[in-house]
C-alpha cells in the first residue's frame, strides 16, 4: 500500500452524490495536482455518513476535521489552506443550530456523538468498493470464527441468546427463525436478504448496502452456515442504482477471494449469492408476495399455512432477513451474544437505525441504542425542529405505522412501546412534523400511498383503503360529516380484520393513530370547517393585514392568479374568488402581513 499523509473521506452516499460529491472529487483532484499534492493525499469515496442534510460532507483524516455543504467553488481555498498550509477552514465546518462557533471535529458534533454504530460500524471509514478495507476493519473474521470454531447449532444459539429481532418491521426473533429453517431437512435451502425497502422517507437499507455491502454478504454467509444453506439471494429494488452497483461489485470481490463460492476459507462450506431486482412494488417487501415475485408470479401475498422456514421459495426452507438484521450478525458472532444483549431494553436488544426526516434540522441516518427517547433522537441528535417551530408529532414505522404526539416525547423507543402507542418500529422511518402539519392531511397522504400499493387481492384492503382515502379527502376538502369519524373507525377495523397480509393489516394505522391522538383536528375540519394547521386549501383563506402591509407590492407582482390588487402606497387586498391559496404571497412578504386562517 502506498503511504499517504492524508485521506479525504468524501461521502458518496446517494444524498451526497445528488448534491455533487463526484464534482467535488474532480475539483479536489485537479486542485491538488496544481499544488503537487496528489502523491501525498488521497480522496476516498465512502458510503453514506448519515448527515445527509449537510451534504456533500467530507472528513479529513487523520485530523478528523469535518467539512459540510461543500461546493466546487470552495475547493481551491480548502486545498491551499488546509491541505497545503495546515490551516483548517472554519467557514466550511459545521455550526450546530444553537451554537455560535463551528465544531471542527466530527467526533465532537452532537449528531454523531450520541450515536452508537453497530450496523453502520464502517460508515465513512472505508471505501465500500474495496474488500481489503472491510477486512482491515475486522470484516469476515466473524465468518472465519463461525466456520472454524462453531457448529451450526452454536451459531444459532449465539444469535438466539443475543435476542436479535428482525429489523424489517415485525421484530420476529432472528435466532428462532434460523432454528426453524435448520430443523427442516432439505437438499436446497434459501437465505434471502430483503432489500425491498419501500417506506416513503426510509433509506437505511439502501445506505447500508451502499456504504458497507460486505457486512450484508458476511451476515448472509453466516446465516447460510447456521441453517445449512448454500443459496443466497438479495431481493433489491432496481431503483437503487448505487446500492445495486456496489453490491454486485462486492459479490464479485468476495468470489475472487473465495469468501463466496465453493470451499469458503478453505473449509467445506459452499455459499453463493444471486441478485433479484425488484420493480419497486411496496407489497413485494411482504414475504409471500416477494416469494411470488421471485417465482415469476404476480406479487400477491398468500395465506401462510406453513412457515417459509419449512416451505418458502420454491417450496424449500427459506430464511428471509432484512438488510440491517444481516449486517449486525457478524458483530454478534464476533463479540458474542452477551455483548449485544447488554445494549437496549428488556425485550428489544441492540441498536436500531432510523432515517430521520421531515421538519427536523439534521435530517439523516442515525443509529441509536434501543430505549433511547424520542426527545433524544429528535432534539439532541436531530437538533430540534426547523425554524424552531413547535414539535407536533413524529410518524414512525412507515405507511403502516402511526403518529406519536408531543406528550409521548419522553417515551423510550423499542418494539413494545411503539406498538403500545399505536405505531410500530417498522423498518425505522421517522418523519418529524411541526405545528404547520395537518394530521388529517398526513393520514390522507399515507392512505393515498397505500391505495396505490394495495395489490388488490383482499377486498377489505382494496376497497376499504380506497373508501377511507375518499372520506379523509372529503374531510380535507371541507365536505366532512359528523358520521365520518365513527365510519372511519369501523372501516379501519374491518380492513385490519379482513386483510391477509401485513400491508392491509396495518393500512388503517395512519387513520386510527391520528384519530386517537388528534381527533380534535378531525372535528375542527368537520364541525368548524377549519384546518388548524392551515394546510387544507379548501378550508383556509389568505388575507393581508392592512396594519402590517407596507405596500411594497411584492405580493401583487408575484401572485400567479393576479388576485392581489391595491393602489401604490396603500395596503393590498386579496380577491378571494381568484385566489387559489398557493401561498406565494405569504412566502414573498417581508413583513409577515399575509395571514392564513
Amino acid at each position: 500500500m502506498k503511504t499517504y499523509r492524508t485521506h479525504l473521506m468524501l461521502c458518496a452516499g446517494t444524498g451526497c452524490v445528488s448534491n455533487g460529491s463526484y464534482r467535488i472529487k474532480a475539483a479536489l483532484e485537479a486542485e491538488m495536482a496544481k499544488h503537487n499534492l496528489q502523491e501525498e493525499i488521497a480522496v476516498v469515496m465512502t458510503g453514506c455518513n448519515g448527515f445527509c442534510a449537510q451534504g456533500p460532507v467530507m472528513t479529513v483524516q487523520p485530523d478528523g476535521i469535518f467539512y459540510q455543504l461543500l461546493t466546487v467553488e470552495d475547493i481551491p481555498h480548502l486545498v491551499e489552506e488546509h491541505l497545503l498550509k495546515g490551516r483548517p477552514v472554519k467557514r466550511l465546518m459545521y455550526t450546530p443550530p444553537d451554537a455560535k462557533a463551528p465544531v471542527p471535529k466530527m467526533s465532537d458534533i452532537g449528531f454523531f456523538r450520541k450515536q452508537r454504530l453497530i450496523a453502520l460500524r464502517n460508515r465513512g471509514l472505508i471505501d465500500p468498493e474495496k474488500i481489503e478495507e472491510y477486512i482491515a476493519r475486522g470484516g469476515y473474521r466473524a465468518l472465519a470464527k463461525a466456520l472454524s470454531s462453531m457448529s451450526p447449532e452454536e451459531i444459532i444459539e449465539e444469535v438466539k441468546n443475543s435476542q436479535l429481532r428482525g429489523r424489517g418491521g415485525a421484530g420476529y426473533p432472528t435466532g428462532a427463525k434460523w432454528q426453524s429453517a435448520a430443523r427442516h431437512k432439505s437438499d436446497v435451502k434459501y437465505i434471502i436478504c430483503n432489500a425491498d425497502e419501500g417506506d416513503p422517507g426510509a433509506f437505511m437499507d439502501r445506505s447500508i448496502i451502499e456504504g458497507d455491502p460486505h457486512a450484508v454478504i458476511e451476515g448472509m454467509a453466516i446465516a447460510g452456515r447456521a441453517v445449512g444453506s448454500s443459496n443466497g439471494l438479495v431481493y433489491i429494488r432496481a431503483e437503487y442504482p448505487i446500492a445495486l452497483e456496489r453490491l454486485i461489485m462486492a459479490i464479485g470481490q468476495a468470489r475472487d477471494y473465495g469468501l463466496l463460492g465453493k470451499g469458503i476459507l478453505g473449509t467445506d462450506f459452499d455459499f453463493d449469492i444471486d441478485i433479484f431486482k425488484g420493480a419497486g412494488a411496496f407489497v413485494c417487501g411482504e414475504s409471500s408476495a416477494m416469494r411470488a415475485s421471485i417465482q415469476g408470479e404476480p406479487p400477491e401475498p398468500s395465506a401462510k399455512h406453513t412457515h417459509a422456514t419449512e416451505a418458502g421459495l420454491w417450496e424449500k426452507p427459506t430464511v428471509l432477513n432484512n438488510v440491517e438484521t444481516l449486517a449486525v450478525v457478524p458483530e454478534i458472532i464476533w463479540r458474542g451474544a452477551d455483548w449485544f444483549a447488554g445494549i437496549g431494553t428488556e425485550k428489544s436488544k441492540g441498536t436500531k437505525v432510523f432515517s430521520l426526516v421531515g421538519k427536523v434540522k439534521n435530517t439523516g441516518l442515525v443509529e441509536v441504542p434501543m430505549g433511547i427517547t424520542l426527545r433524544d433522537i429528535i432534539f439532541d441528535i436531530g437538533g430540534g425542529i426547523q425554524g424552531d417551530r413547535k414539535f407536533k408529532a413524529v410518524q414512525t414505522g412507515g405507511p403502516s405505522g402511526g403518529c406519536i404526539p408531543a406528550a409521548l416525547l419522553d417515551m423510550p423507543v423499542d418494539y413494545e412501546r411503539l406498538a403500545a402507542a399505536g405505531s410500530m418500529m417498522g423498518s425505522g422511518g421517522m418523519i418529524v412534523m411541526d405545528d404547520e402539519t395537518c394530521m388529517v392531511d398526513v393520514a390522507r397522504y399515507f392512505l393515498d400511498f397505500l391505495r396505490d400499493e394495495s395489490c388488490g387481492k383482499c377486498t377489505a384492503c382494496r376497497e376499504g383503503v380506497d373508501v377511507m382515502h375518499q372520506i379523509v379527502s372529503d374531510i380535507c376538502g371541507g365536505k366532512g360529516k359528523e358520521e365520518h369519524i365513527p365510519l372511519l373507525e369501523e372501516l379501519g377495523q374491518a380492513v385490519k380484520d379482513g386483510s391477509m397480509c401485513a400491508l392491509g393489516g396495518t393500512a388503517s394505522n395512519p387513520v386510527l393513530s391520528t384519530l386517537r391522538y388528534f381527533r380534535d383536528e378531525y372535528e375542527a375540519h368537520i364541525r368548524d370547517r377549519h384546518c388548524p394547521a392551515a394546510v387544507c386549501k379548501a378550508l383556509i383563506t389568505f388575507s393581508i393585514n392592512p396594519e402590517k402591509c407596507k405596500a411594497c407590492l411584492l405580493c401583487n407582482k408575484n401572485c400567479p392568479q393576479n388576485a392581489i390588487s391595491g393602489e401604490k402606497k396603500k395596503p393590498q387586498k386579496i380577491e378571494q374568488e381568484k385566489c387559489v391559496r398557493c401561498g406565494v404571497c405569504r412566502d414573498v412578504c417581508r413583513f409577515e402581513a399575509v395571514t392564513v386562517q
Binding site: R5, H7, E39, E40, D63, G86, A136, Y257, G258, L265
Partner: protein
C-alpha cells in the same frame, strides 16, 4: 486472485494497518510538518516528502502525518513536531532532508531524541 484461507485475513489486516490507523487518527507517532508560508518557502514540502518516503520504505504502520500553520519561529524553518504516544512533543528546527531521515530513524523508530536538531521539548501554553 488466490482464494483466501483463514490466516490470510490477518495478513490483509496487517498490510492495511497503515491506511486504517490513519483513518482512526490514532498512531503511535504523529509528525506535524509546519506548513506556513515561511515553512513552505524554506522547503517544508521537501521535508514532508522525505518523511513520507521514510514511512513508505520502513515497516512501521502507525505513524500519522499532520500539517500546521506557522509556529512563529520563521527564521528556524523548516520545522516539524514529533509526538510519540505518552511523551511530550519535540520540536525540530532548521531541517534538511538528511536531518529529517535521521530524526525518523533515531526518534520515531528507536525512541531517541536527536538533540542537536531539537529546539525544545513540550509545547507553548495556551490560555
Amino acid at each position: 486472485m488466490a482464494k483466501l484461507r483463514i490466516e490470510d485475513l490477518e495478513k490483509i489486516t496487517d498490510r492495511m494497518r497503515k491506511v486504517m490507523s490513519l483513518r482512526d487518527g490514532a498512531g503511535r507517532a504523529k509528525i506535524t510538518v509546519h506548513m506556513g508560508t515561511c515553512g513552505i518557502a524554506a522547503g517544508a514540502r521537501k521535508i514532508m516528502s522525505a518523511l513520507i518516503r521514510c514511512v513508505d520504505e520502513s515497516a512501521v504502520k502507525d505513524v500519522i502525518f499532520s500539517t500546521s500553520g506557522c509556529a512563529g519561529l520563521c527564521s528556524r524553518e523548516p520545522m516539524i513536531t514529533i509526538e510519540l504516544v505518552g511523551q511530550a512533543p519535540v520540536k525540530y528546527v532548521d531541517l534538511t532532508e538528511d536531518k529529517a531521515k535521521r530524526i525518523f530513524t533515531e526518534h520515531i523508530l528507536n525512541g531517541k531524541i536527536v538533540v542537536d536538531c531539537a529546539l525544545a521539548i513540550g509545547s507553548e501554553q495556551t490560555l
